[in-house]
């Protein structure tokens, strides 16, 4: 339990770093980005809106920076992330209306990519030195391909030319959103291509990691023992794979960050609603309050996913329950 609590402490600290960076970055950046933003906005938006940006980013205020920092935290605990400049709505309401798309898309893609990649990696590791090894360079190529590029190519080939999948958007514009069969079916149909393109490029990492670990584990005595006992091959693979998967779970932190980053850009390619598209709008229009809100939400979500992976690891590997010096 102590191990888990320590990880939780690290994540709390990470969240604090993210929030604090959000507060200090715009204030300390060279070139004073907020002042130049306000200069651009003057005359375009109402004085109240300009005032709210000034309040949020501490321009022309008489309070000290620590007082502002305190106010920032108080607002955060009340769920107030400021007002989006371009969308003229509160950042929290914009985010809460869009985040489900992203959570659904990336959540499904993450789980599938981990499960499929690990399973394939276990098989590749087991049949090492055979023809299946030729999959490795192919997987490497997919791993090195930016997700958004792979997504673009898939739109070009499978949607525009072959018409196997619908090209852009998240659901059929003719369907009425709600709990009806037509809408849910179209959701499913429109999500296929984005999920497949995230899957293809993210799966390779899990696969290669698992293969290498599997090759290492197969050399261990307990696997030889399992074979010597005459266990069926399927059970031996399962035996070895359960041990080989541990580093993959332990490295989840690194992978999930990369996966989420890549998947956000895939949303742009498919014009899929969600945080990725909000992010693009926010950066293009210098909508700093929205940008900060998005960064915060992404960070907290990734930390949550990490925590789940850690609990899983703790449950899978009894050795972690007795802390020893590394």
């Amino acid at each position: 339990m102590r191990v888990l609590l320590r990880r939780f402490g690290v994540y709390l600290l990470t969240a604090w770093v993210a929030i604090t960076a959000n507060f200090f970055l715009p204030r300390l950046m060279p070139g004073n980005p907020i002042a130049s933003l306000i200069g651009k906005l003057t005359g375009q938006v109402t004085p109240q809106e300009v005032r709210s940006i000034q309040l949020q980013f501490g321009v022309g205020l008489h309070s000290s920076i620590w007082q502002q920092y305190w106010t920032y935290w108080v607002n955060l605990f009340h769920g107030q992330l400021g007002t989006s400049i371009t969308l003229s709505a509160s950042v929290s309401s914009v985010l809460s209306s869009q985040i489900y798309w992203t959570l659904g898309l990336i959540g499904v893609a993450t789980v599938l990519s981990f499960a499929l990649g690990t399973a394939l990696g276990a098989i590749l590791g087991w049949t090492r030195g055979s023809r299946t090894d030729s999959l490795i360079p192919i997987a490497t190529f997919f791993q090195a391909t930016p997700y958004f590029f792979l997504g673009s190519v898939m739109v070009l080939v499978f949607a525009n030319n072959l018409h196997w999948f619908p090209d852009l958007g998240a659901y059929d514009p003719n369907a009425t959103p709600g709990w009806n069969w037509g809408f849910i079916a179209s959701l499913f149909r429109y999500a296929q291509l984005p999920v497949i393109s995230i899957l293809l490029s993210s799966m390779a990492g899990w696969m290669l990691g698992m293969r290498n670990m599997m090759v290492t584990v197969i050399g261990e005595d307990f696997v030889l023992m399992a074979v010597a006992k005459g266990l069926p091959r399927r059970r031996v693979i399962w035996h070895a794979a359960r041990n080989a998967v541990l580093p993959s779970v332990a490295n989840f932190a690194l992978a999930i960050g990369l996966l989420v980053s890549g998947a956000l850009l895939v949303e742009l390619v498919f014009n899929y609603p969600g945080v990725g598209n909000l992010l693009l709008n926010a950066t293009l229009n210098e909508d700093y309050p929205l940008l900060q809100g998005i960064f915060l939400v992404i960070t907290l979500t990734v930390l949550g996913a990490n925590l789940i992976a850690d609990v899983l690891y703790y449950w899978l590997d009894p050795r972690t329950r007795t802390p020893v010096a590394q």
Partner: protein, 310 residues
Amino acid sequence: MKRLALPRSPKVIAGVIILGFFLVLMVIGPYIEPYNPSSPLFLQNLPPSSAHWLGTTELGQDVFSQLLDGARATMVVGLVAGLVATVLSIVVGVSAGYLGGKTDDTLSLASNVFLALPGLPLLIVIDSYLPVANRSNPFVIGGVIALTGWAWGARVLRAQTLSLRNRDFVEASRIIGEKRWRIMAVEIAPNLLPILASSLLFTVLYSIGAYTSLAYLGLTNTAVWNWGTMMYWAQANNALLANQWYWFVPPGICIALVGTSLALLNFGIDEFINPRLRAAGVRVRGPRRARARRPRLGMTPVVRETGATS
């Protein structure tokens, strides 16, 4: 220096050739481009032809020239960021692993925090506050990317240093009374080389990905050509829907090829560090190819060298 010789597997050779090609392109690209990549000199949206190998853009710029020109910015930022991040990770990782105690706790905590922070979103936030003029400076942007990408290397290096610290040869030099920095630099560092190389390749790969992603979002100076910017303009002009594959496919393939070459080299290092992986690869060429599908358990010939780790 037999220890440093990488296994000469086809993977490594292919990696060296591809990477070498793009490194040469990085140097000579802007000199051999047929036209000025930014000038709208031609008819718009031309398909590929002998005059324009990759057609022209919506503005009538030559895509092939942009591709050649973009090699430099993309590769330079990748290399700068990779180097800076690796130096950071050596400083943090090796000192954490070697000094131990409070220093280790603090530095490990810092790298764990940076590992958990999602890199690209942080990068986007920092980058969008940067003045536009700085966004095209490879050293500024490379430095910012390095800031989000050093943690992984630091963690791996720390673990390796930790396992080296208590080996006999380090103990011996401590007893002779060598200075701490000397032990770190002369005794420990050479044994970290394979891990260091692997972490450098990995970071360069990450940096090129991050840089092109930023450029694809339009967050770098869009008047300076790199492969991500090309795709940004292609996307902005709906090249996808107009079937202009020759506009956005080549830069993507280039990114993927550079990435693949780095990953292939990494395989070589992996096989060097973990001889079991190497043995698995060598076996294929053996006489028993017919039964290659059947696993041979526990018979991997491994010569345990003192420097080898699992």
